[in-house]
């Protein structure tokens, strides 16, 4: 079980990124970290759109590619490739959390909900130093530490992996 990296987005773009382990450097993929974050957002955006449009069960099926309201239709939670797994959480207020782990990890919906509740809300949104969407997270180093600690406590981030 390994954690690779995590992205936090709000309605204006990526507000926080952290990597524990990234054997394939960004340079060989998207090029720059900014492009990498942008592409990751695009992937989740488009995938949610497809998921909602192709949903065989729901009654609320938006047209493929049509603009949607936040959370309209169904939502995807994770996908697995042969060598990693991507976990995704979207809140009704438009925050998105993307966590990449090794593919042997089970569902992390509860963990991501805890990340939203105990970390993003408690340490960022509730902080008087936070100035609203689009602004950086106050005290990012403290946030980083708390993030690793939370994932370690939940048994997602193994003790052998450095923060």
């Amino acid at each position: 079980m390994l954690c690779y990296n995590i992205y936090f987005y709000d309605r204006t773009g990526c507000i926080f990124y952290h990597e524990w382990l990234r054997p394939k450097p960004v340079k060989q993929g998207a090029g720059t970290l900014e492009d990498d974050q942008k592409q990751m957002f695009g992937l989740c955006w488009t995938l949610s759109n497809f998921c909602a449009a192709l949903d065989p069960k729901g009654t609320d099926k938006p047209q493929l590619g049509a603009p949607r309201r936040i959370g309209q239709g169904c939502q995807f939670r994770s996908f697995t490739a042969n060598n990693y797994k991507l976990h995704f959480l979207e809140t009704p207020s438009g925050y998105k959390v993307v966590l990449n782990t090794s593919q042997d990890v089970g569902s992390l919906q509860e963990t991501l909900a805890a990340v939203y509740d105990e970390l993003l809300v408690a340490r960022c949104i509730r902080s008087p130093l936070y100035k609203g969407p689009g602004q950086p997270i106050p005290n990012p180093e403290g946030f980083r530490g708390a993030l690793s600690q939370l994932l370690r406590m939940r048994g997602v981030l193994p003790a052998s992996q450095s923060a």
Partner: protein, 141 residues
């Protein structure tokens, strides 16, 4: 003075996430559902009271929140020279800010105030627009 009491907006844009995280509400569908959640859950969580939703217009874009318990106005009397003051205006700002974060633009105003001798507190909510989510990266070629 009224402008100062509109300050609730900044409270609202933060309060919504606290509410969503604690209540585990995972989606806000229609305006009607959302207002119900505000009345039944959010008021209970933050003000320890519940209110009723009524007076819906035909098209479902306007309604009233009605309540009689109001911790904000306990031990408050409006002196006669401030009879014009919308003492509970902060609640309007909070609701407007919170709903803006879930992409609903609303107009909120106080139409009944027990401090002024009305029988109930009444807030009127009007949905102006329910917006789609914006793709934030606009500089794409």
């Amino acid at each position: 003075m009224h402008k100062t009491l509109c300050r609730g907006y900044n409270i609202g844009i933060r309060l919504i996430d606290e509410f969503l995280a604690k209540s585990k509400v995972s989606r806000c569908g229609s305006f009607r559902e959302t207002v119900d959640i505000i009345a039944k859950q959010a008021f209970l969580m933050f003000l320890n009271m519940q209110c009723t939703v009524s007076k819906w217009t035909q098209d479902g874009s306007e309604c009233s929140l009605i309540f009689t318990d109001n911790p904000l106005t306990e031990f408050v009397e409006l002196p006669s020279e401030f009879q014009e003051l919308q003492y509970c205006n902060i609640l309007c700002g909070v609701i407007r800010g919170a709903l803006e974060m879930i992409n609903m633009d609303v107009d909120v105003r106080i139409v009944g105030d027990m401090l002024k001798g009305d029988e109930v507190h009444e807030m009127r909510l009007r949905l102006k627009e329910q917006k789609n989510e914006d793709f934030p990266y606009k500089d794409d070629e």
